[in-house]
């Protein structure tokens, strides 16, 4: 079945919401120093290294897949903050050539490769639920993050919509922005 969709949980061990003003040089520098990546200024982009990834969430807000608890004071000195949101979201990876079609059943984003490039992210809706989408570089796959309390409905929708392509469930893997 060439169209087969593979669904798997993308587990998140640690995630922090970092907020601050990139126009302040000290904040930008402090963030880079703390996390080893420069927080992305361009909307819908992700900056990553081997240890972490920073997703653009808003003009002054990022989702960082790394533990920021140690850096709170340094950030605070540069006018920034970090909130622990490690348990806030659950992730699902949807892989296969029809992954974009499947997501477009529930989301008004344009998932065309030329619009939603690999390695970038976008926030939108999955059905009626706020969601963050990431398009993987390595594989034909997306990871979808939604708030934890909505997870049952989301996974049910994913399974129903995937049924016509046929789908397989794969083991849970840590979410890596690869």
């Amino acid at each position: 079945m060439p169209d087969l969709i593979v669904l798997s949980e993308a587990s998140i061990a640690t995630a922090w919401n970092v907020q601050g003003d990139l126009h302040r040089a000290d904040f930008a520098a402090a963030a880079t120093r703390c996390f080893g990546v420069a927080l992305p200024e361009t909307p819908n982009t992700v900056v990553r290294n081997v240890a972490t990834a920073a997703f653009w969430l808003g003009p002054r807000s990022w989702l960082l897949l790394a533990d920021a608890s140690r850096h709170r004071d340094v950030l605070a000195e540069a006018g920034g903050v970090a909130f622990d949101v490690s348990a806030s979201r659950v992730g699902y990876t949807i892989a296969g050539p029809q992954a974009a079609t499947l997501l477009a059943r529930h989301c008004p984003l344009d998932f065309d490769r030329q619009v939603f490039a690999p390695g970038t992210c976008a926030q939108s809706l999955f059905g009626q639920v706020n969601a963050l989408f990431y398009r993987h570089i390595a594989a034909d796959a997306f990871t979808l993050l939604v708030a934890r309390s909505f997870d049952r409905g989301v996974i049910e929708h994913l399974r129903t919509s995937a049924a016509q392509f046929g789908y397989a469930a794969a083991a849970s893997r840590p979410f890596v922005a690869d």
Binding site: A87, S88, T101, P108, S149, F150, T160, Q164
Partner: protein, 997 residues
């Protein structure tokens, strides 16, 4: 199963695949590629329906979405569907269809009595009668009878078993209509590199080609169409959507389209939806939706066996069906001559072509061809009336100027009164129309949006024009979206030019019913009556007569009706205008519209991390916002009320635990958080120390209470705010708004952490014992006093969990709130249950929680704070810091909000051992005649298991001054009344000794 009217050869049906089906129980046979209508006609079945009002026998009239008559009830049981157009329903093996709106049978229908009495029931008759006797009951009885007669098919009794899904899509160029014009447009746009979607409502591409011998680029039309389709299908940037109707044009150039994924099958394949609703966001649109033929009003123009000329030809050419044996063609334009020729070629005896024009052959090549083929053409003539009951048997034909008519026997009448370009979507997109006199039709004029109408939809009925226009429009649309090809695709060419004039003949004066709207039984006389009575605006005409209000929305009738109106008024048709084209273009299945977001998924459901534990332990759930929360945990044999009372008693006597994860939680950080809180809440925040919590109340801009909750200072510049479950989103939006739009200078960052933290409250006199056994810090009153906040680790079976600890009490008991990361919520809960067991801990639900807070006199936003109450009404006026500004304060001193007679929060105790009635109103004299002035009402009430009586919180006029008064709490709905004693809203531990224990 003879298919006596099937031609031996030709058509697009697959004779190798016979399909069995039944109509009104009679077994019949057709072929793959048939519609229900073509299969019925192949079997010689014309009579398929009864009309809406007069129950007149009706036959198949059209060949597609324009069909007004041939509506059937499809299938049985849960998949039964009313009002299905036989002309668009593809045949599948085993299809069952039944006629509608008749009793006891289609051939013999009692409802046809209406036809006999039709003179008594002209348009709008119901506005003039049924007024006696003049009581509401009398009309209900009339109405009952009227309703039984009205309606068409029947709704299934069972739930629809099928699935429907949505699909969002984006493209540069959306082409609507896959006829010659649409395909030409799609090719040109795709060639230029644009992302293209083509919707075609029929299962096949190609549309309707009038000229049977036409060629495109020297290939036969069919071959060119197939080549174009195949080319498009193989292009990765093109999506071809057959069986997909673009039904509506919406804001932001979003086109709604419905794909019938499985309607050509008896049931959808496993995993597949029945239909798919597309929401196509297009940057540019080409409308190539063709044109619909319309009829001419003459007496008996509704007899079964009367077909639109183009439909009749399509049945012959596409479906290889002879729609009759002896035909009369009645047309005011050239195109129906193609029908005459096709019928002739198919062996149908064409008795005559009746044409009001004096020299038809002057107006078009087809008429000359017909003449050359020896067909009898009666120029300057018209059909005056048609005869036959269940099938047309003859027509009376008269020269235009004369009254004497000649009768021609026939079993088929093919009519063409001209064409209406399908401008529905154009008009929905705010395009304006103009009346083209030569075509006697409304055609697209201007449009502010990037949408182009081409081909027959633009009033260009010729193939050559359709191709040229389509090609150019596709190219331009692509260019507008930034796609230009280097190598230009050559424009497809054809020699075939369509008709360019219509002789405007709308009706033929004759005695008898001349139908304009076949579905709703609107006649030319009805239009005359409406005009006579002054219903002369098109909109009044429509509503008074119901013209164009049927399931076909007047596709074949509207323009005819407008023309007759204009004639009556003596004004040009352009002056009367059209009614409004509204979506959907053709009716769309209700189930498809919400797709999967209905039923259990109509709104998302939120579950706390402890949900499964609650469910496993017998919790009954109630909704709170989107959340499911345990209402109570009844034990076997216990009622929900008893369970809640037990749980509430246990909290006061021993200890209980409740899941409060659903509370809104917002973390705030930055130098200026206290300033923000000062402005948000009515009370003061700059005095809150690190490690302390405080209760606060927020107002709306108008001074009314919006929300309440506690905020804790976790660190010097780090705070946690809690909100009510229901207002969590609203409060977060308000904070975002104030920080971004009003006070951007404040150094405050905020984020919602509702999802991050699972929260539990342990309360009761043994709460300290339970918590002390769990955590690694000192929770004594000295070390961790009332309203303290801190962090700790909780010992659980899975190891220690970091937690936030708060000494907050909603129940009025000694209480601790523990928050842990949501993925550890379940572990925390189980640890509390385990370590609480020795102390008699029980989980409690929202019902017991409500009892406890009523006993304590704590307000709830939604009950006491009902969107009309001020803080002072609720007894919280003292929290308002007079020395500082806060949201809502400027309007708080309006006289209405400070009126001494306002309703204020009080406590009530039911006297005489009585039960407090549900949702009672407070009156001084329960026996007073209505309107009995209400002095207040009960906002929350419960049986207090701890006081052993019924108590309530209430809002009462000047309530605080009425301590000790007795009033009546009455519930006329429950036929209950009880004397109540007014007192303080706090029933338990008024000085707060318990919570400070």
């Amino acid at each position: 199963m003879t298919q006596a009217f099937r031609l031996a050869a030709g058509g697009e049906i697959d004779r190798a695949r016979p399909l069995g089906f039944a109509f009104d129980g009679a077994p019949l046979c057709g072929f793959a590629g048939d519609t229900l209508a073509s299969a019925l006609l192949a079997n010689g079945v014309h009579l398929v329906a009864r009309s809406f009002k007069y129950h007149r026998p009706r036959g198949i009239y059209g060949v597609g979405t324009e069909e007004p008559n041939a509506l059937v009830q499809l299938a049985t049981g849960a998949r039964s569907e009313p009002n299905v157009r036989a002309t668009t329903q593809e045949l599948y093996d085993g299809l069952r269809a039944a006629s509608q709106n008749r009793w006891p049978s289609l051939r013999f229908d009692f409802g046809a009595l209406n036809d006999a009495f039709s003179r008594l029931i002209p348009a709008g008759f119901y506005y003039k009668t049924f007024m006696w006797p003049s009581t509401p009951r009398a009309w209900l009885r009339y109405e009952h009878a009227i309703r039984a007669m009205a309606g068409m098919g029947r709704a299934a009794h069972e739930s629809d078993p099928d699935d429907y899904e949505h699909q969002h899509a984006h493209c540069d160029v959306l082409v609507i209509g896959g006829g010659a014009a649409g395909l030409a447009a799609a090719r040109a746009a795709a060639q230029a590199g644009a992302r293209v979607i083509v919707c075609e409502e029929q299962p096949r591409f190609g549309g309707s080609i009038t000229d049977p011998d036409a060629a495109i680029d020297d290939a036969p039309v069919g071959a060119w169409i197939e080549r174009a389709r195949a080319e498009l299908a193989s292009s990765p940037r093109v999506t071809l959507l057959p069986r997909t109707t673009a039904f509506g044009f919406y804001d932001g150039v979003l086109v709604g389209a419905l794909e019938r994924v499985a309607d050509h099958l008896a049931a959808p394949p496993p995993g597949f939806p029945r239909q798919r609703l597309w929401k196509i966001r297009a940057r540019d649109v080409v409308l190539a939706t063709g044109a619909h033929e319309r009829g001419i009003a003459y007496a008996g123009n509704d007899r079964p066996g009367t077909l639109l000329a183009h439909a009749a030809r399509t049945y012959v050419e596409r479906y290889a069906v002879r729609p009759g044996t002896r035909a009369v063609v009645f047309t005011n334009n050239d195109s129906a001559y193609a029908t005459a020729l096709a019928l002739h070629a198919a062996g149908v005896d064409v008795a005559a072509v009746i044409d009001p024009r004096s020299a038809p052959e002057r107006d078009g090549p087809l008429a000359s061809r017909a003449k050359d083929s020896g067909l009898a053409i009666e120029a300057a003539s018209a059909i005056v009336s048609a005869h036959g009951r269940l099938r047309v048997s003859a027509v009376d034909v008269a020269p235009l100027a004369e009254t004497r008519s000649r009768r021609i026997a026939c079993d088929l009448v093919c009519v063409s009164g001209g064409f209406n370009p399908v401008v529905h979507l154009f008009s929905q997109a705010r395009g304006t129309l103009r009346f083209d006199d030569a075509l006697a039709a409304f055609v697209p004029d201007c449009l502010p949006l990037p949408i182009t109408a081409v081909g027959a939809a633009a009033g260009r009925y010729g193939l050559a024009d359709a191709l040229a226009q389509g090609h150019a429009a596709g190219k331009e649309a692509a260019a507008r979206t930034g796609h230009r090809s280097a190598a230009d695709l050559p424009e497809p060419r054809s020699e075939s030019r369509g008709m360019t004039t219509v002789h405007a003949l709308w009706s033929v004066p004759s005695k008898g019913k001349c139908f304009v709207d076949l579905q709703n039984d609107v006649t030319a006389d009805d239009i005359a009556l409406a005009v006579r009575e002054g219903y002369t605006s098109v909109e009044h005409l429509k509503r008074y007569t119901t013209l164009g209000m049927g399931t076909d929305q007047g596709k074949t009738s509207n323009v005819l009706g407008l023309a007759l109106l204009a004639e009556r008024l003596g004004v040009p048709i352009a002056a009367v205008g059209t009614t409004t084209f509204r979506p959907p273009y053709t009716p769309i299945t209700l189930g498809a519209v919400p797709g999967r977001e209905r039923g259990a998924h109509v709104a998302p459901t939120r579950h706390s991390a402890m949900h499964d534990w609650h469910a496993r332990h017998g919790a009954r759930f109630a909704t709170a916002g989107l959340w499911l929360r345990p209402h109570s945990y009844p034990r076997p044999g216990e009622s929900e009320d008893d369970a809640a009372n037990r749980e509430a008693r246990n909290v006061r006597a021993r200890v209980g635990v409740v899941d409060v994860s659903t509370l809104g939680k917002i973390e705030l950080a930055g130098r200026d958080v206290a300033t923000l809180l000062n402005r948000l809440y009515i009370n003061t925040w700059d005095t809150l120390a690190v490690g302390r919590c405080r209760y606060g109340v927020m107002l709306r801009d108008d001074g009314i209470v919006m929300d309440d909750g506690t905020t804790s200072r976790l660190g010097p510049s780090h705070y946690l705010m809690t909100t009510t479950t229901v207002n969590a989103v609203k409060v977060m939006q308000q904070i975002d708004y104030l920080l971004q739009a009003v006070w951007p200078e404040l150094d405050v960052y905020a984020t919602s952490v509702t999802e991050q933290w699972s929260a539990t409250a342990v309360s009761g006199p043994r709460a300290r014992d339970v918590v002390a056994a769990l955590v690694d810090i000192d929770v004594s009153h000295q070390a961790f006093p009332f309203l303290a906040a801190g962090t700790c680790n909780v010992r659980t079976a899975q190891g220690p969990i970091a937690a936030r600890l708060f000494r907050i009490s909603y129940s009025g008991e000694l209480a601790y709130e523990l928050h842990v990361a949501a993925d550890r919520g379940r572990a925390l809960w189980e640890a509390i249950i385990t370590s609480g067991a020795p102390f008699g801990l029980m989980p409690y639900g929202t019902e017991a929680m409500s009892t406890l807070r009523i006993e304590k006199g704590h307000i709830v936003v939604g009950a006491e704070a009902d969107g009309r109450t001020t803080a002072d009404d609720l007894g919280l006026g003292k929290l308002v810091n007079p020395g500082k500004w806060c949201v809502g304060k400027p309007l708080l001193s309006r006289p209405g909000l400070t009126d001494p007679q306002r309703w204020q929060l009080v406590g009530l105790t039911a006297l005489d051992g009585a039960m407090m009635p549900r949702a009672a109103k407070l009156v001084t004299d329960p026996d007073r005649a209505a309107p009995n002035p209400m002095e207040g009402h009960v906002t929350s009430w419960c049986y207090s298991p701890n006081l052993g009586q019924w108590i309530a919180l209430a809002l009462l006029a000047e309530g605080r001054a009425r301590d000790g008064e007795t009033l009546w709490a009455v519930s006329p709905l429950a036929n209950a009344r009880v004397r109540v004693l007014v007192g303080s809203p706090c029933f338990i531990d008024p000085d707060g000794k318990r919570l400070r224990a």
